[in-house]
Amino acid sequence: MKRILYILFSLSFLAACSNNEPTIIEGETAQGVRFYLVKKPEEKRVAIKIAWLSDWAYGEDNNPIAPYIGAQLLLAGGAVGFPAGVAGEKFADWDSQGFINTNSDYAFGELYFEKAYLSETIEIAQAHLHKPLFEEKWRARIEDEFAKKITEVKKQPIAKGFNVARAIVMGDQPLRRYLSLDQQDLLNGVERSDIVRWHEKTIVSDPHSVVITGDLSESEAEQAVDQLLAGLPKRQKSLSKIIEANYEATTIVLHEESAAQSQLIFIAAMPPVHEGHAFADIMLQRALGYGETSVLHKTVREQLRASYFFEAGFAQYNTNNRFLFMTGAVDDAKLEKSVAAIKAAYGEFKRVGTAGQLTELKEPLIDSMKKIKEDYYHLNTTTFENVLTGFKASRVLNLLDELNDVTQADVQKRLEDAFPQFDDFIVIAVSKNPEALPGACVIAHVNEVERCLAPRDKAI
């Protein structure tokens, strides 16, 4: 019996010693592409995420719609050797998935597949990146569908409100046009040549970041990355991505007859993500405007009884321009009272912060951080986000410790240093009542925003 116990003990000891912890290796492929391999022992699936730098959204002469259509067309429109519709069925057979997305600063490629189908999946993905067909049937179809969808979305009061916010912050710079998509003539005017030019300039063989996760050796990962990017051109020139951002505090009412209720939006500048303090920011954002126990929910829904829900969050126009927003749809009759109540509640929040709540705010984040290492998808995505924002890839393995080390004093200091004063907020209401906010600058169309602002140094 003793021997049995000894063996059982040995078995469990061996199990405890077997190292299934992920490790991160920085490598470089034969073609000179730097990448990170997140090695996850015994993982059957593989994830690859790539970011290509892009300055398309900043170019005066670039069609702002082209990246949106191009990204969809790359995958849906087929490639040499794989007519439209063929790759999708093969991917479904293998349980592989592929995506292309864009934002202001990057195009992103993602692949998820079983290791057993690595070469087949990468062969198809490479063909679509390198030799897409860009057939007219699919270009016209995707453009038409996109234009209809944007037309539908743009009529929402919340979309109109954030459109006004972009006009205040960025004037008429190309980045605003790329994000607002409010030039109706361009929605149905993307030429194939626009898409080909976007593709040639963006999908290149020297991407900004590559992260690959799975039970792969370094040489397997190197080969996979080189095979995926094979045949693509090298980037021709450096990128220029300058915008003038003006977060001038002002109050504007966009008069909108069809608005069922008023959409209230507050936005103010925040330091960019790459400056750090992510955990303190998340905890403060949750305390301010996430869920039923948040400051904003209690103020606007429970005390004022003016709204179904009112939330706070972070968003960014580009990598360097992040902002804090608070928004919700409120009763027209309670719009003015809502602004006053939010002003008082935010002021109190700036004063007391998360005092007494740190443990319960940390708890769900601790659970999330623990799960990152268990799941190949989360592991890959989190590592990728770290690399993209300029942090060390290995940070992902220590996020739990980093979170545990955050103190109440850290959170309070972040609130004082980085969160805006209430008077710094731009306030926008989209309402059928033009007199909803006394003293506000009232406009009937986003084009009228300039007259509500102090003269800018230069026309932007």
Binding site: L8, A92, I142, D144, E152, P157, T293, Y308, F309, P364
Partner: protein, 433 residues
């Protein structure tokens, strides 16, 4: 001797693993009348749902009551032990949900127990909450013309059945909601005998029993019958609806209900119709994506779902966006012609086998015990929300063998047979015809 000892050790280990899975297979999730339990070992979290059948025929009333009860059960210290809290109303149920750490189970249960206590929010609060529900309507449907159209399609298709009743109602119906009616509905529906409790997560059965005892959970005298889902298809009909709006993405919508000759186990029916849906959505011979989208230029995209309403009725939902320059009448004609053709030809064996292989992931891998537990916990919870009695893991996995090509073709033929159907055009009027 060493080898012998190792063999014994391995035998004990293997036995214990089989013993555990054997327990789960035999275990009925109903551990006491109206109390359902599905463990997820090692999750370090517990979820509790208290679910009542939605028995109201008045549009929006149960949802309004859910708002009022949600306020009634809030406690000053919820923040300390509740990680997530929510409540929702569906066409079948109204449910209240709390989750937190396993050591907070008693507080979570005590919090939900308050749903069956008298409703005491007061007339003034209730009136204000009606305004909040109107805000919610505006948030979900007010500026969403398609969502409003689908409400009307649902009401027309299921006329005479309880699921035709709108969960949220129209603004006019919301304005007519009365606190007194909500109180009466609460007294009828939120009672011990009707309440079904679902506990999932990292707690043992004995821990759960102890927690129920400590909070003096009011256990029903007998298991309540599952009432919802008795669908009645009185006669076949075709109703055409048009929803014109210049800013809305155009869609051709076809929804239909058909009756089966003999009842089939719900979960088997769900699996068979999910397989059929994936075949019809595919770009393989026997699918619709080829003729409508890839080879043809009828739709820029579409979705096709077939799913059971109960053991005897299937619902079919098709929604297709027209290609550039194509009218909705042409989408309708092309779609109906192609579906009829497929129903006559049947699914090609190669396509069926290929899609059946993909379908292996529909059920969890039995070797992955953690995954099986999570999957089963989701199944038990969703079954109760649909007012359907959950089956054991063993019974569910046995259904794998009930899938056949013959059955798939049988259901495909039924899609073009007799039934109740609504055909709707949504979007700018000039695209209709």
């Amino acid at each position: 001797m060493f080898v012998y000892a190792q063999f014994i050790a391995m035998f004990i280990l293997v036995l214990s693993i089989f013993g555990l899975s054997g327990c789960q297979e035999k275990q009925n999730p109903e551990i006491a009348p109206n109390i359902y339990y599905a463990p997820i070992n090692g999750s370090n979290a517990v979820s509790v749902h208290l679910i009542f059948e939605n028995t109201s025929d008045q549009p929006g009333l149960m949802h309004y009551l859910e708002h009022l009860v949600g306020h009634n059960i809030k406690g000053p210290n919820d923040r300390v032990f509740v990680q997530h809290a929510n409540a929702w109303t569906t066409r079948y149920s109204v449910g209240y949900w709390r989750s937190g750490k396993p050591d907070k189970l008693e507080q979570l249960l005590a919090s939900l127990r308050k749903t069956i206590e008298p409703l005491e929010v007061g007339e003034e609060y209730a009136l204000e909450e009606r305004g909040i529900v109107l805000n919610e309507y505006d948030f979900r449907l007010g500026n969403n013309y398609s969502a409003q159209a689908f409400e009307e399609i649902n009401a027309t298709l299921h006329a005479g059945n309880r699921i035709a009743t709108s969960v949220i109602g129209t603004p006019k119906q919301i304005n007519e909601l009365r606190y007194d009616d909500a109180v009466i509905l609460h007294q009828k529906s939120h009672v011990v005998q009707q309440a079904k409790l679902v506990v999932t997560g990292d707690v043992s059965l004995s821990q759960l029993r102890r927690a129920l005892e400590r909070v003096e959970w009011p256990v029903a005298s007998t298991s309540n019958q599952f009432g919802a889902g008795r669908y009645h298809l009185k006669k076949a009909f075709t109703q055409r609806l048009e929803f014109a709006d210049e800013n809305t993405v155009p869609r051709f919508v076809w929804q239909k209900v058909i009756a089966l000759d003999t009842p089939v186990e719900l979960e088997l029916l769900r699996a068979q119709t999910a397989l059929l849906s994936s075949i019809l959505e595919s770009n393989l011979p026997g699918g619709l994506a080829g003729p409508l989208r890839f080879d043809g230029t009828t739709t820029s995209g579409f979705s096709f779902q077939v799913f059971p309403l109960d053991e005897k009725h299937l619902q079919i939902n098709f929604s297709g966006k027209p290609d550039k320059g194509v009218k909705l009448v042409d989408v309708e004609a092309e779609f109906q012609a192609e579906l009829l053709k497929l129903a006559k030809q049947g699914i090609p064996p190669k396509t069926w086998q290929r899609l059946r292989k993909r379908f292996d992931d529909y059920w969890p891998d039995l070797e992955d015990q953690g995954n099986v537990e999570k999957w089963y916990a989701r199944y038990v919870t969703s079954s109760i929300y649909q007012q359907k009695e959950p089956k054991s893991v063993k019974k569910l996995l046995r259904m794998k063998n009930g899938i056949s090509q013959e059955e798939t073709n049988k259901y495909l033929k039924l899609l073009v047979g007799e039934g109740a159907q609504v055909i709707a055009f949504i979007g700018p009027e000039e695209v209709f015809r």
